[in-house]
């Protein structure tokens, strides 16, 4: 089998290549050189235009988001939020959010994150969403009194740490492996719902709605098992945590139709 690697590949590409080569050989590659220059120039041009477009788009979204934020301000009163939500046909049982930790967690970035989480938690309580899962970037390491205090208002707050993503599945695999090694269970016993049950108990259950307060969708190590059918909402070019995005996501969720595989 291995000697085949040393033989020339008898493919059709070979033939088409030889024709191209012949053409190029008596033009001293000038045509190819010019072509490459042309493409490189066009690439710069297209990216310059695209860069301009995206800057305008970011500016437009920033302005319109500000406007909506002013018009739809909640004035920190739960009544306003409840009124906004009342018109919606259904609400997610379990909401999840993705936030950015700015500057790699330096300075007051962590504090800001905690504030943002508690703010969203407050909105959820007012809107009547029973369960919220939020990223906890080393929250417990420094202690987060602001977040914990919300749980007494009937909101079930789950903090997702970085280890809850793929790492959690690795840990589960280790445990299962040890159990099989000690012959407590057999490998055949491990089915999808065993894993599902364990991961949703130990990590988190499947959220209904995931709001990404990021400029674009990047899951950043979000637990892969849980995100199967989660509705993901992300406003393009969004900056920071805003109530208008929260409301927008809830509205979109209310309209979305679910049809598993059908």
């Amino acid at each position: 089998m291995t000697y085949q690697n040393y033989l020339p590949a008898p493919s059709t590409r070979h033939r088409s290549n030889s024709r191209v080569k012949k053409q190029d050989s008596y033009r001293f590659g000038i045509r190819r050189f010019l072509k490459a220059q042309f493409y490189a120039l066009l690439y710069l041009f297209i990216h310059a235009i695209f860069s301009l477009y995206i800057r305008i788009r970011i500016a437009y979204h920033a302005v319109s988001n500000r406007l909506v934020a002013i018009l739809k301000h909640h004035y920190n009163s739960p009544e306003y939020i409840a009124r906004d939500v009342a018109a919606l046909k259904r609400l997610p049982e379990h909401l999840s959010i993705i936030l950015t930790l700015e500057n790699g967690g330096k300075g007051d970035a962590l504090e800001k994150l905690v504030n943002e989480v508690s703010e969203v938690a407050a909105w959820c309580t007012a809107a009547g969403i029973p369960k919220l899962s939020a990223p906890a970037v080393a929250l417990f390491a420094r202690g987060a009194p602001a977040v914990r205090s919300h749980s007494r208002q009937g909101l079930d707050l789950i903090l997702i740490s970085e280890d809850d993503g793929r790492e959690a599945m690795v840990d589960l695999t280790r445990v299962l492996t040890e159990m099989v090694q000690k012959e407590k269970i057999t490998a055949e016993d491990i089915t999808m719902d065993v894993i599902d049950n364990e991961l949703s108990e130990a990590v988190m259950s499947e959220p209904d709605l995931l709001i990404s307060f990021e400029p674009y969708v990047d899951l950043q190590g979000y637990p892969p098992w849980a995100i199967r059918l989660t509705e993901i909402h992300c406003a393009p070019d969004n900056q920071g945590v805003g109530y208008q995005l929260f409301l927008q996501a809830l509205r979109k969720y209310a309209q979305a139709t679910f049809k598993l595989g059908k």
Partner: protein
């Protein structure tokens, strides 16, 4: 009457030779241009919206799927031309078996024909040196479709430049489950010492005999010698993949049980990853879902965990063309550049 058939005049215009020639030229220039920048290595498509497209245009559902396949051929050509190494498409979910029986049957019949088409005149895949891989639960493929699948895989096996992953019947949770199970299997099969070429006891014996020839400072070796002989070769070369920490006593001291297992603590993300269907593929760079549905729907959950740019597009899959792909690629290239800029000052 479908509006697809009513648009004759427009069709005639776009299919006329000069216009077609111009369009082809424009596409080639555009692709050649985009190739100047960074190109994603692995792109996944969730081909959604065939049925809604068919419904909107008042054609048969299966006709929508046919148009969807044409879109796939277009997309493959674009991607491979740009230099994308791996394209993964979600062809059929395990949940799709719940669809009306007629449609499932139609889809399976279509799969046979299309697999045959993809391979037979082999143009597209052979031109770009792409091989087909079918990912998913093999036992769920109907018996009459299986030979077609195998032949398609077999006939493109020699291509090494690019890969087309067809997920058929696939769900990501099933994939993760099987990866976990495979990992467990790997770590619970007692590692057989497959006669290591070098024997440690032989080496110690040799050294000991060397020492005994010199007949001085024997003690230091003697001290360890009984231990070394009882341990034999098995312990230290127990598993080639997971070097055991020699200090970990619980596993080594199991004399009652002859079966020895690799240490479960050595399982890492990479171990599980190596058992997923996409083990040999580069990490997923771009995930595209069409038809304005903003869910992953059990596709590539493990893979798009991190650093994957997820795009949800408005258009239905049969409409998908270069003009939808270019903005995605441009934005990806732009973000890529931004991320590099952000990282470089730190270095």
């Amino acid at each position: 009457m479908s509006d697809l058939y009513l648009s004759h005049v427009r069709n005639w215009f776009w299919k006329s030779p000069p216009v077609e020639w111009l369009m082809k030229g424009a596409r080639d220039v555009l692709i050649g241009t985009l190739k100047q920048g960074p190109i994603p290595k692995h792109v996944a498509f969730e081909m959604d919206g065939n049925r809604r497209f068919a419904k909107n245009h008042k054609i048969e559902t299966i006709e929508g799927h046919h148009l969807g396949f044409e879109a796939l051929a277009r997309v493959l050509e674009i991607c491979y031309k740009c230099g994308v190494k791996v394209v993964t498409v979600y062809a059929f979910s395990i949940e799709n078996f719940n669809r009306p029986r007629g449609e499932v049957k139609g889809l399976m019949a279509m799969a046979k024909v299309k697999l045959e088409q993809l391979v037979q005149h082999g143009e597209l895949l052979d031109r770009y040196g792409a091989c087909i891989r079918v990912l998913g639960e093999r036992d769920l493929i109907p018996a009459d479709v299986l030979p077609f699948v195998d032949r398609a895989v077999e006939m493109t096996k020699h291509n090494k430049d690019a890969v087309l992953n067809i997920c058929f019947p696939y769900t990501s949770r099933a994939e993760m489950t099987s990866a976990i199970k495979a990992t467990i299997d790997e770590f619970t099969s007692p590692s057989q010492p497959s006669k290591p070429p070098f024997s440690q006891s032989r080496i110690t014996q040799k050294i000991r005999s060397n020492y005994s020839k010199r007949s001085d400072s024997l003690d230091s070796i003697r001290e360890t010698s009984p231990d070394a002989s009882t341990r034999s070769d098995v312990d230290d070369s127990m598993s080639s993949t997971t070097a055991l920490d020699p200090d970990s006593p619980p596993l080594q001291s199991t004399t009652a049980k002859p079966r020895r297992f690799p240490n479960a603590e050595h399982i890492t993300t990479d171990t599980i990853n190596s058992h997923t269907y996409t083990a040999e593929c580069p990490p997923l760079d771009i995930f595209i879902r069409t038809s304005n549905v903003t869910r992953l729907s059990d596709f590539m959950l493990w893979q798009c965990h991190e650093n994957t740019h997820i795009f949800f597009l408005q258009c239905f899959w049969p409409e998908f063309d270069l003009w939808h792909f270019v903005p995605v690629l441009l934005e990806w290239q732009w973000r890529h550049k931004k991320l590099l800029e952000k990282e470089s000052p730190r270095k």
